[in-house]
């Protein structure tokens, strides 16, 4: 493993798109899958460069008020709340600035939020970004896409085929 440099792979210039994408993948993937892939990845990291984390905000469950829009496109209104669990960790690095990793994950799974925050920090470092994207984020995104595609095919089978009844001429 290379020593992480001080640049952040996510958004050194305010370009947040890649980070938003991996945070979304980590939030939506089943906790068990994130854990399995993360464990496998971290086991492959040499002890000498094993990441050291400090918890800045312990995993904490709270609420997000979900908003809708009147008529689907009109003025916003408060529809109801959902549970969410957040966590912030700091990745300590020798000879480089510490990196904060954040997670906000629907539901009440503290372990999922903690792990996602750690992965968010690692994904911002040059050393871990590439390998983690390949070993974890991309496979999780692919699995989600496969689940969705399978469901869309089943739902597609319930699409109505209208046909017109033609009356006889005579």
């Amino acid at each position: 493993m290379t020593t992480p440099s001080s640049t952040n792979a996510g958004s050194p210039t305010g370009e947040d798109a890649p980070r938003k994408q991996w945070m979304a993948v980590l939030a939506k993937a089943p906790a068990k899958r994130v854990e399995a892939l993360a464990t496998a990845y971290l086991e492959g990291v040499a002890d000498a460069v094993a990441p050291r984390f400090r918890v800045l905000r312990r995993p904490e469950t709270g609420l997000v008020m979900v908003r809708g829009r009147a008529g689907g496109t009109g003025d916003p209104f408060n529809m109801g709340e959902m549970t969410v669990t957040r966590c912030t960790v700091v990745l300590e690095r020798d000879g480089a600035a510490a990196v904060a990793g954040h997670a906000y994950i629907a539901g009440r799974d503290r372990a999922h939020a903690t792990l996602a925050a750690k992965l968010d920090a690692l994904l911002q470092t040059d050393g871990h970004h590439g390998p983690l994207m390949a070993a974890l984020v991309e496979p999780l995104a692919r699995e989600a896409e496969e689940r969705r595609a399978a469901r869309r095919r089943r739902v597609g089978a319930t699409k109505v085929d209208f046909f017109t009844l033609v009356r006889g001429e005579d």
Binding site: S11, D16, R19, K20, M23, A24, A27, K28, E60, T61, G62, L63, V64, M65, V66, R67, G68, R69, A70, G71, G72, T73, G74, D75, P76, F77, N78, M79, G80, E81, M82, T83, V84, R86, T88, H102, Y104, I105, A106, G107, R108, R148, A149, A150, R151, R152, R153, R154, V155, G156, A157, T158, K159, V160, F162
Partner: protein, 382 residues
């Protein structure tokens, strides 16, 4: 006078024990797990989430188990739970136009982009008890076909193109302005009203109305919607579109400074199309009623949309003479946790209240008897 009475602690404790035993039922029968409820009693879970105003499938399933299947009790449990949690953020308004559709039907247009998608529906079942379900069984494998479109246009946009339906843009001119200064102040920072933070005021804005209806009792709203169809405040509705599917939920935490997706939720949306004959200076056009529910809740979303439209009577200069058009009546009575609290509190001790009533009645009776002589019938009854 209010007199506190103590006692019954042991009886209460034992009643809880009996409740726990009865909840479990016959121990020869395997115990239900919340997972089973979540997966196999989905529509019950969805209703508890919607009216509990908290999207959390696991928690709603657990609440149903604890409540022995009593929906309002489970809703109450969810409402109580939410008060113990801090609120971190409000989401960006969800975009139901970008919904990954599981079901989407329109009763107004046969042919529409994306098509009519029936999805998992009871609509065409024969409502005959299926005795096969009494034994463990494995459903037939689902058919597969060309996948449904990634996102589907809203049916009502087809009418909006021609200007035949009122617009549903932000700052809808049909929405009445908040009548007082403090209501307007709430909106200065662009935040919609929140009935869980601010006490209700009448007339309410449409934002407060929709929030109240979204958590309102399905049965109450269903009955009101039905009354409007039968002529008590008729609105000539058509189900413009009903869609069920998942949407992402996004928030922008202060510490990040950009928007992130925290997960997906399933929603049911109903867009009603209603007739409007036009007003003094407005051409006739179609109008809208809107319903939105957590999970799969078509009956709820449709009822909500009908009641929403009825409550907009003032905006269309319609006379308000039916119960469904009476905002204060509808919004003050649609919450089943409030309602059950007030109705069910009657079974709690009112010993002192009742004693005073009893004494008053006895005195009135003595006075009555003194004036008119004893009542023969009452004598006989005693």
């Amino acid at each position: 006078m209010y007199v506190a009475v103590k006692g019954g602690e042991r009886a209460i404790e034992n009643a809880h024990g009996l409740l726990a035993e009865d909840r479990r039922g016959d121990t020869e029968v395997p115990e239900l797990t919340p997972d089973q409820i979540r997966e196999q009693m989905k529509l019950a879970v969805d209703r508890v989430m919607t009216e509990g105003s908290l999207y959390d499938r696991e928690l709603a399933a657990l609440a149903l188990k604890q409540a022995r299947g009593d929906q309002i009790e489970a809703i109450f449990l969810l409402r109580a739970y939410r008060t113990t949690l801090p609120r971190f953020a409000a989401s960006r308004p969800v975009d139901t136009g970008a919904m990954v559709v599981e079901r989407r039907v329109s009763a107004t247009f046969k042919d529409l982009p994306g098509g009519q998608i029936l999805g998992p529906t009871f609509d065409y079942t024969h409502r005959l008890i299926d005795h096969d379900l009494a034994a463990p069984h494995r459903p037939r494998p689902c058919a597969e076909a060309a996948p449904v479109d990634e996102a589907m246009p809203r049916v009502l946009d087809l009418l909006a193109c021609e200007g035949l339906i009122e617009p549903a843009d932000p700052a809808d001119p049909a929405a009445p302005d908040p009548p007082d200064a403090s209501g307007a102040a709430d909106r200065e920072d662009g935040q919609p009203a929140d009935i869980t933070r601010e006490p209700p005021r009448f007339p309410a804005g449409r934002d407060a109305r929709l929030q109240t209806l979204a958590r309102g009792d399905e049965g109450f709203l269903l009955a009101l919607a039905y009354s409007s169809q039968r002529g008590y405040g008729r609105t000539h509705p058509f189900a413009g579109e009903i869609r069920l599917g998942t949407v992402p939920v996004c928030i922008a935490p202060e510490e990040l400074g950009f928007e992130i997706e925290i997960g997906e939720i399933e929603l049911t949306e109903c867009q009603m199309v209603n007739q409007f004959t036009g007003g003094a200076d407005r051409a006739p056009c179609f109008t809208r009623g809107y319903g939105l529910a957590f999970g799969h809740g078509e009956r709820k979303a449709m009822s909500m949309a009908l009641v929403d439209r009825s409550l907009r009577a003032d905006a269309f200069e319609e006379t308000r003479d039916a119960p469904v058009q009476d905002e204060e009546f509808v919004l003050s009575h649609c919450d089943n946790v409030q309602a059950t609290g007030f109705v069910e509190h009657l079974k709690l001790p009112h010993y002192v209240d009742f004693q005073s009533e009893l004494e008053l009645l006895r005195r009135l009776r003595r006075e009555h008897d003194a004036r008119n002589g004893p009542d023969d019938k009452a004598e006989a009854a005693e």
